[in-house]
Subunit: 331 residues, 2 copies
């Protein structure tokens, strides 16, 4: 667990860690394009810009947090190695960063992981530990094992260094588009939006930060409404990277509560339509979570009229059979 | 037609136009990543690097040539506007560059163009002229119209400025990976490989340049073998951007003949497998032509053992229904 109580963070202090992270990780990562979309922009409507984290190294924003967490280790922590858990983008980002930096690390994954995902991680040189049970249980067990063996645990979102890495996206958006009015951000555990909202609150407070979640799993937005982290029911979503409960006590909860301006939910049909638009018109691959911001823009045309909106396209890793189904469907 | 006879070009003179093009176009374009592929590399086998022109602005390398051609116009040519023809990547690149630079231009396209392609071009602000007949006939008619109306015609490949723009890819590859042994390049009309081969021959002659074509349409490679530009039979291919005859007298023919080291052909099944690998493992979109180099690497494992090979992933624009079919098939 983080040493500093979450509620004692200020946006200014987190923004300072983000500025430091940018200097630390930039040599290892891509400054991804912010691409104006002629297909989502129109006169009188929004002017839409895609922040292409699907073009980031390992094809998602998670590479930012992974590199910042590993580059922030002291010599002794680095020598002992790390433990992490994830089946998706964070695992790929960690596997890549561990191999590149020559740090030992174990990635704990559910035993139900697909053969393709496993092959992908192993090709990146990952040392996997397969565990029975759901992803939440694997996360808890991995953290316990890290404590037992005196190694650092790198959470996919509940980690100050990971949040600082993800927040570097806000710096890049506002550098490329200082006149940006609003940033739409996909939200799962809240690591990405916590970093972005902290930096914007401290450095560009005129800009709105809006979280987008699948209506099937609005855990963080409902928790913010309730004023406490809830374990509400959720169902599967095409945006599989953003479903499920957040870890109890996650430092992302007070950040989301205090610094995020608004929340939007999108349906599965809206996510499918956004994926089809990004593949068909923009010729780029996105996963469900990567299409959330685009889906929210398309579903709320009036809300964004006359505004310059940056849409965080968070990642590209969509299983081919899922993509084939979406492209073949017409709803 | 170009003023300078093609055969009088030297690799050195073309390389100089490429260096000048790089300075001219870099502010408008992306230096695309050269990404090491853990999925295509193995000990004792090749070390493979993807040159990600599918991440280029307008999602293909064609943006390089389009910007160089337009930025090379003199004031009078610029004021008169240009004519071009293409249904695909060159048209999108020209539409984007014309709008950004504020130059008038007509894009001639076959009347059979799909509604989706048309919508995509019109969203980029393109002024289209629809013409009955096949793409070759549209190309000839567009060039005639340009001459009649005293405007510059910008060919997708048979144009010295376009070739110089495409050649900037070689500079970027060798800057990122000076120890590169070989570059695999998709070949249609030959504009891309002519630029790359010229620059390599003049500036890094140790590096091999190999052209890859669909076995269904090996027009340029068979022409090089015959010593003259042939109009041989060809059939459709998933690599639709590289099929068909090259324009009679194209300046790319002697460049391909004199500067390209080798040629490889790939089957439609090999192209499908390469698309599935790039989508499934690398989580990136590619069109058929964009998968040719990867297909050639996978189809000839022994040939590349111990070599550092750069694969030019030329573009991403694949129709969604075509992609869905490939992802659903298993061959």
């Amino acid at each position: 667990m983080p040493a500093v109580p979450a509620d004692s963070f200020s946006a200014e202090s987190v923004a300072a860690t983000i500025d430091a992270a940018a200097a630390r990780i930039t040599p290892y990562l891509r400054v991804t394009p912010l691409e104006c979309s002629p297909f989502l922009s129109r006169p009188g409507g929004p002017e839409a810009f895609l922040k292409l984290e699907n073009y980031q190294l390992t094809q998602s924003f998670k590479a930012r947090g992974a590199f910042n967490a590993l580059l922030s280790l002291d010599a002794s922590e680095r020598a002992r190695g790390v433990v992490t858990s994830s089946t998706g983008n964070h695992a790929n980002a960690m596997a890549h960063a561990l191999a590149l930096l020559g740090i030992a690390g174990e990635i704990w994954v559910p035993a139900t992981i697909s053969a393709a995902k496993r092959a992908q991680l192993e090709a990146r040189g990952a040392r996997l530990r397969l565990l029975e049970g759901d992803p939440g249980r694997v996360e808890v067990a991995a953290r316990e094992e890290a404590q037992r063996s005196d190694r650092v645990y790198v959470s996919p979102y509940n980690d100050a260094a990971v949040i600082a890495g993800q927040g570097t996206i806000a710096r890049e958006i506002l550098t490329a588009l200082p006149e940006c009015d609003e940033i739409l951000v996909p939200v799962g555990g809240g690591g990405l939006i916590s970093g972005i909202a902290a930096w914007v609150r401290a450095r560009a407070p005129r800009v709105r930060v809006t979280g987008v979640l699948p209506a099937n799993s609005p855990v963080i937005s409902e928790s913010v409404r309730a004023g406490r982290l809830l374990e509400i029911p959720w169902t599967e979503s095409l945006s599989d990277a953003t479903v499920g409960w957040a870890e109890p006590g996650t430092i992302t909860f007070p950040m989301c509560r205090d610094w995020v301006d608004d929340w939007l939910l999108v349906s599965e049909a809206e996510i499918r339509a956004a994926i089809r638009l990004l593949v068909g018109m923009h010729s780029m691959l996105v996963e469900g979570a990567g299409a959330l911001a685009t889906a929210a823009l398309c579903a709320n045309p009036g809300r964004f009229a006359g505004r310059r909106v940056a849409l965080v396209v968070s990642g590209a890793r969509i299983p081919p059979y899922v993509l084939a189904g979406i492209l073949a469907s017409q709803d």
